[in-house]
Symmetry: C2
Subunit: 197 residues, 2 copies
C-alpha cells in the first residue's frame, strides 16, 4: 500500500468500484485524480486504430497508478482498464498534493516508485527495439518471474498467448510459434498448452 488508507479517507478519498473491463480513465484524458487500488487489478494499455493493444503495465492491491501525468499536468499516455472487479481510492489532485505536503515522507516513496517505473520502461524500450522476437518474450517472462520472486524452479505462466502478445507488442501466432521454438530449445516448458518458465 502506497498511501495509508486511513489518511486517504481522512482527506476525502472516495472508494469507487469498477467491473471487469470497465475503464477508469482513457488515453489522452487530462489527469485530475490520484488513484490507488484497494482491491483488484488494473492494466494500463494503448489500443491503436487497428485494434492492436499494447500493455504498459499491470497494477494490483495497494498500487497507485497514473501518477506521472498527474504530477506534471499532462494527458494520460494510456488507458486504465479494470481486469476484474476492482475497487479504487480516488482523490483530487489538490487533496493529493495536500497529503504530500502534510506527510512529506510520501515524497520519498513516490520518488522511488517513479524511479522504478523509469528504469522498467527504459528496459522495455530497449528490449523491444534491439532484441529479436524470442528475446522480447523471454524478457517478459523474466519480468513476470521477478515479480513473483521465484528464481529457482520452473513456474506456471498464468497468461494466455494473446496476453503475452499484448505485453510484447507481437501477434498471437508469432508468440505461439516463438514459444514452440523456445520449447524445442529447452528454454521454456510446455505441458498441455500451459507454459512453464
Amino acid at each position: 500500500m502506497i498511501i495509508d488508507t486511513e489518511i486517504l479517507l481522512q482527506y476525502g478519498a472516495l472508494l469507487k468500484n469498477f467491473e471487469k473491463n470497465e475503464a477508469i480513465f482513457y488515453e489522452d484524458d487530462i489527469a485530475k485524480f490520484y488513484f490507488q487500488i484497494a482491491k483488484g487489478k488494473v492494466k494500463m494499455c494503448n489500443i491503436n486504430e487497428e485494434g492492436k493493444q499494447f500493455v504498459q503495465g499491470i497494477f494490483s492491491d495497494g498500487d497507485s497508478f497514473g501518477e506521472p501525468p498527474l504530477l506534471i499536468q499532462e494527458k494520460y499516455p494510456a488507458s486504465a482498464i479494470a481486469l476484474c472487479k476492482t475497487s479504487v481510492y480516488k482523490i483530487s489532485e489538490h487533496l493529493f498534493y495536500k497529503i504530500l505536503q502534510d506527510y512529506p515522507h510520501y515524497k520519498d516513496t513516490f520518488l522511488k516508485i517513479l524511479a522504478f517505473r523509469c528504469v522498467q520502461k527504459a528496459n522495455t524500450s530497449k528490449d523491444i527495439i534491439n532484441q529479436r522476437t524470442d528475446h522480447r518474450i523471454l524478457s517478459f517472462l523474466n519480468d513476470f518471474k521477478r515479480r513473483k520472486g521465484s528464481t529457482t524452479k520452473k513456474i506456471l505462466v498464468p497468461y494466455t498467448r494473446q496476453e503475452i502478445a499484448d505485453f510484447t507488442g507481437l501477434r498471437v501466432e508469432t508468440v505461439i510459434r516463438c514459444l514452440l521454438l523456445l520449447h524445442k530449445n529447452n528454454q521454456v516448458q510446455i505441458l498441455k498448452g500451459k507454459v512453464y518458465y
Copy 2:
C-alpha cells in the same frame, strides 16, 4: 539547472571533463553517483550485439541524468556517452541524499522530472510498438520540435539520418526512404539533403 551549482560544490561535487564519445558510465554498471551537466551534451543509449544503437534520451546544460537507477540502487539500463566535450558535476549517492534531505524542495523537482520521463517513455513505447514507420519518425520530429519550443515555422532538424535511425530504432535506409515519402507528401521539407520540419 536542477540543483544549484553552489550547493553541489559546497557538498563536495567534482567537476569532471569528458571528451566527445567518451563514456560517463556503461549499461549494467551499478549506479553510485549523481550526475548533472555543467556544459555539454550527453546521450543515454543501448548498443546491442549486432552494433545496433538505440538512443533513450539526450541531455544538455543543467540537466541531470541517470537518477532513476541511483534512487533504487539498480543497474543502469543504458550507457551515457558524451556527444561533445562535456563537463559534468559528479557527487556520491550518499551526499546526493544529504542534499535532498537538507533542501527538500528538490524532492518536488525530481518528482516532476521523473514523472516527465515516465510519461515520455510511455509515449515512446507506444509509438514504437503501435505505429507505422512514418509515425515513429514524425513523433520523433514532433518531440524535437517541442523541445525547441517552436511550433509555428518549419525549422532545420540538426540530426543525420543515422541519428534519426538510432532514435527511432530503424535503419538508415528506411529513414531515408520514409523521409522521401514524407517530403513528397508535404509533411517535411528537404533542401540539399537537410530536413526541415
